[in-house]
Symmetry: C3
Subunit: 208 residues, 3 copies
């Protein structure tokens, strides 16, 4: 097979930054949307649209990566960041979809805590991505990574309390099955944010 | 440690093609087997045998990859394709095993829809793999990838309806737990087919 | 961005060996801890501490990898081994946490069989890692890999029996949900050990 490569640096940081911004926008919108204890049909649709925009951005980054010979940071790292940012938004969208499918009221206390943590983690991811190309902002980027780790740890204790409470108080197995999935999806979104932080820390070490 | 590498191109396309054919065979057999609303012991065994053959092929590809210095396409892509094709068949085999373990009747309407989508997706994967080495068949290969994406999207709506219906109509929590797992495994098989399409699209871009 | 690389071989085998030893220690401790059919608060804490030590080791390996230019084996393989060893210990720790959270008695027969298999698999992983740098011990390392595969296969049949039994005998859906998760986590730990064996076999082929 022939090989076609364009030997120039693509503007990957730009793309990744836009992807992170889109994620932050979706997380902030989700948090605001459920703040009244409900999630309207139009709000679910809006989250799905942001998820589609994220898909398009992720696809463009992968495409650019496949056509670029020299990259400013390791190819695998760009690929990991694009995919993980995409995954976080997929999980947010899946949560919104499940709330509708399972006819749940998102006024649940633990769910609100999760959405708040995800909103904060997404904002920290976005800031870390923004300052990543700037060598003088290393400490700042690292601080955001530490913050993301802290939020993920908080998510672990929310999940412990949420799932523990589910088995303690909830009498209906169906509700347990539904909420357990929602909580685990929320925790998965925080785990993915932590993974993004891990990749960023690796990039900082390599370019230290 | 010493390094031993054979500096020649292995016949990777040949191996991957055989792996895709084996998967297609298993998917078609599964579909035919459950068409009478049952899954006999001998049919489960046959699927398990095809899964073992798939394991052997995947192992041979990885082995060849480890011993080959120059590859016709990126090493990671060969590795991803071999592993993902293997994963799809693993999931099919897991579904067959769960149907037996959970004593389910595979006459379920949504299950039939899933198996039909997987059968079509496997066939499209097989065709895409077949034409991939031929530079003149780029458009055709891309069409198969688009088709696989379409089938995966259809799988998403089948799952929505299937799981929604489960919580709506099913009174027994045990049955919900069992079928939910089966549906999610089926959806996972379609997701993996979509991932294969994504890797193939990446290969086409790199060698465009 | 600037690039800083130290062009020397890091002592990766040493680190990976320590990580495998830490895992083996945790698995052996877990097995011993539940041998009386209980899991005390202090024992859960001890497993969590070993998991934290594992985290630190995995982090140090990744860090060293990012700062090292020439590695004795492929970078991806070092990364895969460090992450997978870390994952096994994470899953052990998750199991201990769930037993507490779900207020389960770990005297369950199938759970005991799983812990025994994980203990054996961890010991085999540790031995394989120990002899891996020694070219004269190839056959021995391969034997440990075969042993790990055998243990993972045994885990598959334990899970079949365990989950089958759960749906057959257990009347309470809540208990089914809890134990199904524990069994699947245990099986996941064995799967990760098998993945470690697969990476090791790949290393042996490349340096054959």
């Amino acid at each position: 097979m022939r090989i076609r490569m364009i030997p120039r640096e693509g503007n990957f940081f730009d793309y990744l930054g836009r992807q992170a911004e889109n994620l932050t926008k979706a997380a902030a919108f989700f948090k605001q949307a459920v703040s009244d204890g409900k999630l309207a049909e139009g709000e679910i649709k809006k989250i799905r649209e942001l998820e589609h925009e994220g898909d398009t951005l992720a696809h463009e980054i992968t495409d650019l990566l496949n056509r670029t010979f020299i990259t400013p940071i390791d190819r695998e790292d760009i690929y990991s960041l694009a995919n993980s940012l995409d995954d976080v938004l997929d999980l947010l969208n899946a949560m919104a979809g499940r709330i509708k499918l399972y006819k749940l009221q998102p006024g649940d206390e633990y769910f609100a805590q999760f959405i708040d943590l995800i909103d904060q983690a997404a904002a920290a991811v976005c800031s870390a991505m923004k300052y990543l190309p700037d060598d003088k902002k290393r400490t700042r980027v690292l601080d955001y990574c530490i913050e993301i780790n802290r939020l993920e740890n908080m998510g672990d204790s929310v999940r412990e309390k949420a799932i523990g409470g589910l088995f303690e108080h909830e009498k209906a197995p169906m509700a347990v099955i539904k909420w357990k999935e929602i909580y685990e999806t929320a925790e998965g979104a925080l785990d993915k944010c932590e993974y993004v932080a891990k990749v960023i820390e690796g990039i900082l070490v390599k370019h230290g």
